[in-house]
């Protein structure tokens, strides 16, 4: 029997990713969408209308926004958008699938033949690898079948919650272009960032907004011959940790199995396994023999989607600079640190506010500092996003200008920023606010000189200490000037004057 030492093994992974789109209403009816932030906390079965419930005589009507979101993602993935696309019914019976068929796309998907330059790991500046996208199509999500009552209580029946049924779902399928778990995870993360950036999903992994199904097999070389293990599909992974664990586990498991049984890939012999987080292993769910006959046929209740040039142009105009390119620009062109760049890009809407601040004329360093320190602090306190604080990009610019001109110190700048975040000060002129609140520094030479002289005159002992070498005592003289000026003296200039006067 061959051993691990006799062979060379190469992992092959293709990915199927399901993305829940954050439209306001469902894919084929106007009931509210659980994947939209406004409905995250909806009570079970509260987002169901007759179409969702698959009641007799009701009919599906397509959501335009879901189609457009899918086109956006397709374009971002370099896909060709099929100018004519259709809907098919995929039949199988399950309690979370109200009609006992899913409306999906079989042979004319919305997007085909794309490719992405995906980083091979999440290290900054990592090399990229071309990942080819076979297709991306739209379908409706199923509801949820639960086997314990809410709160974890055991029940001897199962229960159905159809809130998620009918949510628009974008299914993206790649070629088996991955050969490591790191690449798979990096791609998943990049895809998540792209989708969040385009505003098509909130991408909250714990809510199942993105689900991964890696298709895994191993190419083994021994004695000049090549063997391929049977393909295994791992169902429904919804965390990057699970994705990483499952891919690595399968790689090893398949090698071990081949070493023991020698079984190789046969046409159509794909098995399905699930991932168990607690044991860190995959387990068998379904062999090919029990595979479904989905009986795909064109859905007679829905008409074709024809994408003309005008529609394509409207959608293309909504495409934004994507996260990877943006990160590169922030680091290389704007000189930001990797940490700062990633922190800014992480929240798309806040990032766009940052861009607005840059566009208003604030330099990158100061802008990112304001975003990541002054504004982030307040966003945390108010449990909202930076772009929701209420301060405008032009207000940030005005405050940044005041700082740059030394008219306010850093503490005053922070105060001003805080004031502009208050709704009463919406659109207020920061200069006027600074004047009203006495935040402006005094930088006038004669005033400062006077205070400096006064303090020197009143503190002979400290002056002597400073002249003798204890430079740190300048700070106490500083304190004196600040007191005299009621805090308005330009601290930086004062310190310079003191040093000049006492140390030459």
């Amino acid at each position: 029997m061959p051993t691990a030492a006799d062979i060379k093994a190469r992992l092959m992974v293709g990915m199927e990713i399901h993305v829940e789109l954050a439209t306001r209403s469902k894919m084929f009816t106007s009931a509210p969408n659980v994947a939209h932030p406004d409905y995250f906390d909806a009570e079970p079965n509260s987002l169901c209308d007759p179409v969702v419930l698959g009641m007799p005589g009701v009919l599906p009507v397509m959501n335009r926004r879901a189609v457009e979101m899918s086109m956006l993602v397709g374009l971002a993935l370099g896909c060709t958008i099929n100018r004519k696309t259709k809907w098919d019914r995929k039949s199988y019976y399950y309690p979370d699938l109200p009609k006992n068929y899913q409306i999906s796309q079989y042979d004319q998907p919305l997007c085909i033949d794309g490719s992405v330059e995906s980083p091979v790991s999440d290290q900054p500046g990592a090399a990229t690898r071309t990942i080819r996208i076979i297709r991306a199509h739209l379908e409706e999500d199923a509801g949820k079948l639960l086997h314990e009552a809410p709160g974890g209580f055991a029940i001897d029946y199962s229960i159905v919650d159809l809130n998620r049924a009918g949510t628009p779902l974008l299914e993206i399928v790649t070629h088996p272009d991955f050969d490591s778990a790191e690449q798979v995870v990096a791609f998943g993360q990049a895809l998540r960032n792209i989708c969040r950036f385009l505003g098509v999903t909130e991408g909250i992994m714990q809510k199942g907004h993105m689900r991964f199904e890696p298709n895994i097999n191993v190419v083994i070389e021994r004695d000049g011959k090549t063997y391929k293990t049977p393909i295994v599909e791992i169902k429904n992974l919804n965390s990057f940790k699970a994705l990483h664990g499952a891919v690595n586990y399968e790689y090893q498991r398949q090698i071990d199995e081949w070493l023991e049984t020698g079984v190789v890939m046969k046409a159509g012999a794909k098995s399905t396994r699930g991932w168990d987080d607690t044991t860190g292993s995959t387990f068998l769910q379904r062999e090919k023999e029990e595979a479904h006959d989905y009986r795909y046929f064109p859905d007679p209740d829905l008409v074709h989607v024809v994408v003309d040039d005008a529609w394509m142009a409207r959608v293309k105009a909504q495409l934004l600079e994507l996260p990877l390119a943006r990160e590169k620009r922030y680091i290389e062109t704007l000189g930001m640190s990797v940490k700062d760049a990633r922190a800014l890009i992480d929240e798309p809407r806040a990032c766009l506010f940052f861009e607005a601040v840059l566009a208003a004329g604030v330099d990158a360093k100061r802008a990112s500092s304001i975003m990541l320190n002054n504004l982030a602090k307040r966003a945390n306190e108010r449990a909202c996003r930076v772009d929701e604080l209420g301060i405008s990009a032009s207000q940030v610019k005005a405050i940044a200008d005041l700082s740059a001109a030394d008219k306010i110190g850093s503490a005053a700048a922070d105060d001003l920023i805080g004031l502009c975040c208050e709704s009463a000060n919406k659109d207020a002129d920061p200069l006027k606010l600074a004047e009203q609140r006495g935040l402006l520094q005094v930088s006038d030479d004669s005033a400062l000189d006077e205070w400096v002289q006064q303090v020197i005159a009143q503190n002979e002992k400290v002056v002597a200490q400073i002249k003798a070498g204890k430079e740190s005592a300048i700070m106490s003289l500083m304190g004196g000037v600040m007191k005299l000026s009621k805090g308005k003296a330009n601290a930086k200039v004062v310190q310079e004057k003191l040093r000049k006067a006492l140390l030459g």
Partner: protein, 102 residues
């Protein structure tokens, strides 16, 4: 003349369609369906090699809805026709398998 369908095929189709058929029904179904399938094979007389399939009665495109939500049904109406329920959920026998085929 051999029948178009075997009883085994009928049982398979009944499983696909989730219809429980007794043995007697399987036999009857096999006979009746075989007769119909025999009759519809008449379509094989035609040459359809260059014909586009017609799945819809009218050629329409782009019937699309604005993304505006409307409230769902109240939980009472959702459950009003449900044979077994544990409000707000619908009850089914305990399921211990993988989870559908999506």
């Amino acid at each position: 003349m051999p029948q178009k369908l075997t009883e085994q095929e009928v049982r398979h189709v009944a499983k696909l369609g989730r219809l429980r058929l007794g043995d007697h029904e399987v036999r009857q179904m096999t006979d009746k369906l075989s007769a119909v399938l025999d009759y519809v094979s008449k379509l094989n007389e035609l040459d359809v090699s260059n014909v586009e399939p017609m799945a819809h009665a009218m050629d329409m495109a782009n019937v699309l809805r604005d993304d505006v939500e409307r409230p769902g049904l109240s939980i009472d109406l959702v459950l009003a026709n449900a044979p077994e329920q544990s409000p707000p959920f619908i009850k089914v026998p305990k399921v211990i398998d993988d989870g559908g085929g999506a």
